[in-house]
Symmetry: C2
């Protein structure tokens, strides 16, 4: 149409409106609206004609107008609260987002994405988005054990889904009574896979989560089966809900097998390679170092493997390593790392679907993602005797 370049830049083509369509199709604006929104009250004939004209003109509803007239904003929000430096090497988020969008974009819904420094800023942003009517709902990631966001969102009435799960899932006790091994613990027995839990663990928001407890149990099955009895879990940030779940599960599993809690335990970090390496060094310096270490992310696992190499400790000969979350990283190191593989884009899809369900007035519920599987590679083996 217009010649590209400066001219086009200054004088953009006018976007067609339903008025244009109405005129061209020889009907009223409301007829156009009905026709394009699949609403009854317009003949097949008119509907078809209107559709054709809209197609010809390349019409797309003006999102602002649609939002203004009581309809939805046509956008969801996702806030990532992390200090800028912490935006490390992690494929998790991009994959999650890609899964989320696969579902949202099929419904022509946009995703507002924002990276902020901290939780307070995140809360302020929710308030602003709500007041501005910018989004129809939000996905809350990195849930904490003590999280102000669900209450805020519930109070605002902004539909939301917590991605990553509650601090204490359904039947799980927050903390088992100290001296009581829980072989009969119902928690990790048989949670219904991919089915909504009977009681929502979080009273305010729908939740999509992964069964970290069972995943940890799988890792322990693997290591215990190989003969490991001194297993340390180098966890991520202590405030995160899934960290708490994993730590809890490790305890439960250790107790169930009658393992010594001093030899099977967790330490928390900030997920960085630096703290992962540091924690590893401390552990290996101990009198009776662990024979296996489980890292809460791939970066720390690689950092840990590197520390072992530095000290001449053979992996998996003297030390087995497991990474929670797989990535290219785990496959390029030597030895290649045994990793817990999960379908992150699938998790994102699930979260987006649940958010859409909430928007459609669905019930408050808790949905569980696919159970991850352990991909055994070269970094885990039978521990040395003793």
């Amino acid at each position: 149409m217009t010649a590209p370049g400066e001219a086009a830049r200054r004088k953009p083509a006018r976007r067609p409106t339903i008025k244009d369509i109405a005129r061209r199709a020889g009907v009223s604006e409301s007829a156009v609206s009905f026709a394009l929104n699949d609403r009854p009250g317009v003949s097949q004939d008119t509907r078809a004609r209107v559709r054709r004209v809209a197609e010809e003109l390349g019409w797309q509803a003006n999102s602002a107008a649609r939002a203004l007239s009581g309809e939805r904003a046509g956008a969801m929000g996702l806030v990532l609260a992390r200090p800028a430096q912490t935006l490390g090497v992690e494929s998790f988020f991009l994959q999650l987002v890609s899964g989320i969008q696969e579902v949202l974009s099929a419904r022509q819904i946009a995703l507002l994405f924002q990276v902020v420094e901290d939780l307070d800023t995140e809360c302020a942003l929710y308030r602003r988005w709500w007041a501005e009517r910018r989004v129809d709902g939000v996905l809350v990631v990195d849930p904490r054990t003590d999280d102000p966001r669900p209450e805020l969102l519930a109070a605002l009435g902004l539909p939301a889904v917590v991605v990553g799960g509650p601090a204490a899932p359904g039947p799980d006790p927050a903390e088992p009574s100290a001296g009581e091994p829980s072989a009969t613990e119902p928690a990790t027995a048989e949670p219904s896979a991919t089915e909504p839990a009977a009681t929502p663990p979080h009273p305010l928001l729908s939740t999509v989560w992964a069964d970290d407890a069972k995943a940890m149990a799988r890792i322990l099955d693997h290591l215990y089966g190989l003969g490991h009895r001194r297993i340390v879990h180098i966890a991520g940030l202590p405030g995160l809900a899934h960290t708490a779940r994993r730590i809890q599960s490790l305890r439960t599993e250790a107790d169930r097998r009658g393992l010594d809690r001093r030899q099977v335990h967790s330490v928390t970090t900030d997920y960085s390679d630096a703290e992962g390496a540091e924690a590893t060094r401390r552990l290996l310096d101990a009198a009776r170092p662990p024979t296996a270490i489980v890292y809460d992310n791939d970066v720390m696992a690689v950092a840990g493997a590197s520390v072992a190499a530095e000290r001449g400790i053979p992996v998996p000969g003297a030390l087995s390593i497991v990474a929670w979350d797989d990535s290219a990283l785990c496959r390029v190191t030597h030895p290649r790392l045994t990793a817990l593989v999960r379908d992150t884009p699938g998790f994102g899809r699930l979260a987006a679907q649940e958010l859409l369900a909430v928007l459609d007035g669905g019930p408050l519920r808790t949905v569980q993602g696919e159970l991850p599987h352990l991909e055994a590679r070269e970094s885990t083996a039978t521990p040395p005797p003793g």
Copy 2:
């Protein structure tokens, strides 16, 4: 106010509008609008009162209404066109986005982020966003050597900034005449750092780019200085503009030093660890393998180091390795990798600022980001004799 929980979820608090403010402050709606938008035509007194009331009510402009009344949408768009599987381990994008948002959020501008499969989908999305008036402008990433996006965006009149630079920067010839070494090449001589180039290399859109040519020259300075004469560059996707620039620069630099083009050259990959490893294997199998390899990203560099380890080739004893782009990865491997460090969030900030400038009617121009520096670590050293 309202009790949280189900009730709040169903009956969200009503958001205040300027009408509420007008009533409460005892003025007209237009007075409120003027007062809140810092426009003249209202007394100091009224302005202050209106402001106070707005504050009390927690008012925020309804973005849809604002957008509808001819104002801006208050959002920018960013599309990442990548097959889902390729969303690998890369901190680049999250850091870029975080920088972009630092600038945008200071102006209350949201970022619409979308991951799509390919360039066609990306173009379709721009059209849709434009038709929907969803965004005021977009940031175009991963520019290609033959890129349909600038023309499309210019034709639509959608303000945009290309992030990552043109295929052939300013004075750079697209391809030097074959047999003519270019010691006198003005291209890499002294491009003005961080200042707009005299002539926009791209006739349609403003561009923010990094001087890959100079960066490559720095890497070559380092390696050549150490004594390397057989240097291979394992590049990324051949279609990307910066890949072309780096390849071109390597040629120029090789010629300038009278190096043999058969021994100093580039090979392209898809950026994956798999192709990075594969290319490395092929190179090391050659009769006269390179003594130094430059990888276009951190993942491939680590994969390459891993291949060397696999074959018992000491790094840096027999092979030096340089990674283009630093990350935790480069610091956790053994030996730690020499890397080209750049300020990615800073680059994002620059891009966002430029986009705002374009929106404010600024001139079409090309802005250069900070020149990256080479962080020499343990993976580069003097090559073995011969």
